[in-house]
Subunit: 278 residues, 2 copies
Amino acid sequence: MPPTIGVFDSGFGGLTVLRALVARLPRARFAFIGDTARLPYGSKSRRTIARYAAQSAQFLVNQQGAEFLVIACNTASALALDAIQEAVPVPVLGVIEPGAEAARQASCTGDVLVIATDATVHSHAYAAACRARGLRALEKACPLLVPLVEEGWTGPLMAARAATESSAAQAASALHQAAVTAEVIRIYLDELNAEAAAQGMNADTLVLGCTHYPLLRRLIEKAVPAGMRVIDSAEAAAEAAVRLFNGRAASLTGEQESENPPPAAQLRCFATDSVEKF
Amino acid sequence: MPPTIGVFDSGFGGLTVLRALVARLPRARFAFIGDTARLPYGSKSRRTIARYAAQSAQFLVNQQGAEFLVIACNTASALALDAIQEAVPVPVLGVIEPGAEAARQASCTGDVLVIATDATVHSHAYAAACRARGLRALEKACPLLVPLVEEGWTGPLMAARAATESSAAQAASALHQAAVTAEVIRIYLDELNAEAAAQGMNADTLVLGCTHYPLLRRLIEKAVPAGMRVIDSAEAAAEAAVRLFNGRAASLTGEQESENPPPAAQLRCFATDSVEKF
């Protein structure tokens, strides 16, 4: 019986981490919970986030039998990883350390930019994780990006889909929406780059410090200066999870042949409130 | 001793209602609570919203001695007014009925547009309240407007303030931000007007069905077709509250002279989480 990996997010952004995990561990069993009754965490206090996150972690371990937890939410990882680890007796992996480690591997100059929610930025968890690796990090909160993703104004792909599936008016509207999102990204990144330049930084790497942001990756890649690398904390966390589960990874990744091949990935999803957005 | 009026919101948008109330009832005592630990309500289910709102209402009545409650949140008014009224033994006033009543007084054609949060729109509370008054209403969810207000991208005023108080770069950034907000409003209203036209409506009134939206009023007024009236549910609710408190209004409004003039408005504010945004 493969172990159950519990994946927790404040909402649905963590599905980008789950997607990356399922791709790498196709034989594992997953239990995902999104705390949709109380999202978003990005604007809440550390104590509140810690209490909420610990409750969901206990649900995954006590009710769903999770033997590992992946905190697929930068805000919860930044503010509540210790509280979650104290609340459950299984290994807990957040997304901040893997994201910072991926930035270390990507950066040549040692100067790194991070975009994230308000709460993640105010925690300075990325700055600390980067500093521990000899990197300088400048963090910027981008509170509008999560709502833009939730609204589906996610860029050319959505616009193209609307063009093939819907009316011309809807396609035009999707293009306008994508242009708004691109402009919001440009404003945030211009401010961030100006601040980095003012601090004498020579940044060559941008960390997407929120699990919603990979859904804006193409627009973000268009907006960054030429040559800047974009690091996806969701992908980085999934890779770190595979290394963490190394002892069992052979069976989970399906690389080992056997006479009774294990079943395909099993996935149970839960939410603390309505699941329409799933 | 003037009575205490309890004002409840899921966050801080309801401060627009409180501001309107204080202006009309300068001698009253107010207790305001924002349920910031669990905002926003706009994307949550009816049952969850009802439970949260009832808890805050009970706090205002049982702990703060409120003798009237104003639910300064369209989402809570739309989905939980009955639950709140059942939870407390004092009169409860929401913002939907006053908003619909103001629309009835403003509209000549009887066709009304409403913009609000997801949850308010899905409840169709405005459509029902308008129908009861012989109006046709078309509702549209505008989920990005609250985050834009919370982020402070609220238009020319903020841009002008940045120009006088900050650097030229910040002022330019504020102008870009205002342009984004104006474009988001234009996209939403274009979609709404197109849908209204497709339904053969001749709308002449737009209801701001969220207490955050008055902070975008100037941008919205620029975006609506010429001659369309814009109704602020916060103002409408404050006027309805004054009528509700009619028996005591003379002392509350300060119109009555006395040898010992009552003190100025007293205001106690509470939040269920961090209060930085206050």
